[in-house]
């Protein structure tokens, strides 16, 4: 099977210019040699902290930025050097949903105009066909037809994100890049949007490149995970393997930092040490060695390559094979009263959802 999206050795370096003559005095290596594939109908999650290069990687993949090095292939076709009309035609096949539902919708356009615009740009359908499509899109993301006449400010954050999703789906793309689509939303609303994305993927056979910093959300949406640190992928593999048996210390750090809704394990967490180094000044050797609890001398001098630890599970750590098993997966058993009530809640929810359909 041909991957929908394939990136190979992608890099984006920005020169730091100083002084009157704008001489380059250094380089910010925002993305520094990243390779991955997204298969049809699959969700690949790119995870990492702010500044790790995950959003830049997504923009390179969409050709919204031009890479310094590397290639991007879309459905087997090399699109790295594509320009003009062919690139525009390609944009129909790949779309993006942004993080901030407040900043990514034009406040002076109605929802109808917002959803119709991509159709006009790509010259899809006549006026009537476009109107029908707008109504269809609103239904698809769980909004009502009368919402078409409203302006973005009349909607809540969750509803705006639905509009952003509908806009991305307007031109029937094969690949949707979701750049932190739920991190600006409340948990309860986050859950609604995560469920919606899941439904849409199943109904429309979409492929997702899901950018996130929250591993808990990723656990729910992804098929495969790629963890990024300072412009590189440091661990990648099928979701279940990466979460059950992370083979890179950074992945472990991210996992243990998530605050768990369980007061009984409050002190089980080990806090991370230090801040993310600047991508303008990447540490020598392994780029994670300044924060790594497992650091040895070799890590300070030798840059580890991504290598296989299990089938399809890769890690860029010299000590990947020797890391002790991670025990944070063992959750405190759910207290009976809470478990019983949550089960009851789920039951009622399901019954209600059926009643609606």
């Amino acid at each position: 099977m041909t991957p929908v999206l394939e990136a190979e050795g992608l890099a984006k370096h920005y020169p730091i210019r100083r002084g009157l003559l704008s001489r380059a005095s250094g380089t910010v290596r925002a993305v520094d040699g990243v390779s991955f594939q997204v298969m049809p109908g699959e969700t690949l999650a790119l995870v990492g902290e702010s500044g790790c290069g995950k959003s830049t990687t997504a923009r390179l993949a969409l050709r919204l930025l031009d890479p310094t090095a590397g290639t991007v292939r879309f459905e087997g076709q090399d699109i790295t050097a594509l320009h003009g009309a062919p690139l525009r035609a390609l944009r129909r096949r790949m779309q993006i949903v942004f993080q901030d539902p407040f900043a990514s919708l034009n406040p002076r356009m109605t929802v109808r105009d917002i959803l119709e615009e991509p159709l006009i740009v790509h010259a899809i359908g006549d006026r009537t066909a476009r109107q029908t499509r707008v109504a269809e899109l609103l239904g698809l993301v769980g909004l009502a037809p009368y919402h078409a006449a409203r302006y973005p400010h009349e909607f809540s954050g969750g509803q705006r994100q639905r509009i952003g999703i509908a806009r991305a789906l307007a031109v029937e793309p094969a690949l949707v890049v979701l750049d932190e689509p739920v991190s600006a939303l409340d948990v309860s609303i986050q859950a609604q949007v995560v469920n919606l994305l899941d439904d849409l993927q199943r109904r429309l056979g979409l492929s997702y490149l899901f950018i996130a910093h929250d591993l808990a959300v990723v656990k729910h949406v992804a098929d495969r995970v790629a963890v990024m640190y300072l412009g590189r992928i440091v661990e990648t593999g099928p979701k279940d393997q990466v979460f059950a048996d992370p083979r890179h210390p950074y992945t472990r750090l991210l996992l243990s930092a998530i605050p768990r809704p369980d007061p009984h394990r409050r002190l089980a967490r080990q806090a991370a040490q230090g801040d993310l180094p600047s991508p303008a000044n990447i540490p020598a050797g392994c780029r994670f060695h300044t924060r790594c609890p497992f650091v040895i001398d070799r890590c300070r001098t030798e840059d580890p390559a991504l290598h296989q630890v299990e089938t399809a599970h890769l890690s860029a750590c010299h000590r990947a094979a020797e890391l002790p098993p991670l025990d944070i997966e063992q959750a405190h058993p759910a207290p009976p009263a809470a478990a019983r009530r949550l089960a009851l809640y789920a039951e009622r929810r399901a019954a209600q959802a059926e009643g609606v359909q």
């Binding site: 809540s156 910093h213 808990a216 243990s256 605050p259 019983r340 949550l342």
Partner: protein, 328 residues
């Protein structure tokens, strides 16, 4: 048992609307014991930030506090005059906000901003003494090379560093109560973990009480001794920090717990709460949560439920709780 440090009784904060007053906080009673952490949880728009602003008497116009009492260490804050209030704010009660990017002034150094707070409450301090205290304050929030970083501008620091500076400013006068409004929401998880650890350690050192406002029940589980769940301007459940997770009673609390994606388990679907928090000018009749509630029954649309006792120090405003009795 000693008096609580802060006691809020029947607090009501309203905004003037076209058709009369609109309540943002509607009859909230809470207390914060000395040295403990009260977590206030709820979705955006549930009134939790407005509650904390009311405690500080910082409600923005056209809002005003319409009723209630806020007793801090024996003094009713709502009865204080402006100078008395000013000497209390930043000194005995301090506040940190969500946005470490916008809470600091970009044109002053970090040191200037820490010293400004100290000088405001101690007019006679010497410049050298202030600088030494400011450096000590930065050192306490674990900023490396503190004395040197005093001369940094906010943009030279990372988000986590800036939030540490905010905490240093808030703690510079040794407050008895720290109100932290979503202090880690804008930060990465690893940085969030560092800041939460820091707050916990500082609390152990200084014995200050904390009101922690957040929408994240994970953060609450890490920090809170007591929890109040707010919905549409009201407290709908109040319990000790462990009970809210072990023995959640209100359907809204259940919904919040069900919405959290957990690393330990893979559920097919998250239990989202459908719909959104109602606007304060369009509150439903009866229980305010009823339109979104999966356990709704006929009386829920008519009866506005009071907080009912359901366990030791545990109350919830739901006539259907405990919900397992419905199945029987």
């Amino acid at each position: 048992m000693t008096d609580p440090l802060l006691q809020i009784e029947g607090l009501r904060t309203v905004f003037r609307g076209a058709n009369g007053d609109v309540p943002a906080v509607d009859g909230v009673s809470l207390s914060v014991p000395r040295g403990k952490t009260l977590g206030i949880v709820g979705e955006s728009g549930c009134g939790k930030s407005m509650l904390s602003l009311s405690v500080m008497r910082l409600v923005p116009a056209p809002g005003r506090i319409a009723a209630g009492r806020v007793v801090f260490d024996g003094q009713d804050l709502l009865a204080l005059d402006a100078p008395a209030l000013r000497s209390l704010r930043g000194n005995r009660i301090a506040m940190i906000f969500q946005e470490p990017m916008t809470s600091l002034n970009p044109v002053f150094t970090v040191g200037d901003q820490i010293m400004e707070a100290m000088r405001a409450h101690d007019r006679r301090a010497s410049a050298a003494g202030l600088r030494a205290r400011a450096a000590a304050a930065l050192d306490r929030v674990r900023i490396p090379a503190a004395a040197r970083r005093l001369d940094d501008y906010p943009h030279q620091m990372s988000g986590g560093m800036r939030q540490r500076v905010m905490i240093a400013i808030a703690l510079s006068c040794g407050p008895d109560l720290l109100i932290a409004d979503e202090p880690t929401t804008a930060l990465d998880v690893t940085v969030q973990a560092q800041i939460l650890d820091l707050l916990r350690d500082l609390q152990a050192q200084t014995g200050m009480a904390i009101i922690l406002i957040t929408h994240d029940l994970g953060v609450v589980a890490e920090m809170a001794d007591e929890v109040a769940v707010m919905y549409a301007g009201r407290v709908v459940e109040r319990a000790p920090g462990t009970a809210i997770f072990d023995d959640p009673q209100h359907p809204y609390t259940l919904g919040l717990l069900g919405s959290i994606p957990r690393v330990e388990e893979t559920r097919d679907r998250l239990l989202a709460i459908e719909g959104a928090v109602p606007a304060p000018f369009a509150l439903p009749s009866g229980c305010r949560f009823n339109p979104r509630c999966v356990f709704r029954a006929p009386p829920c649309t008519e009866v506005d439920p009071p907080l009912l006792p359901l366990g030791p120090d545990h109350t919830a405003a739901c006539i259907r709780a405990p919900v397992e009795d419905l199945a029987a």
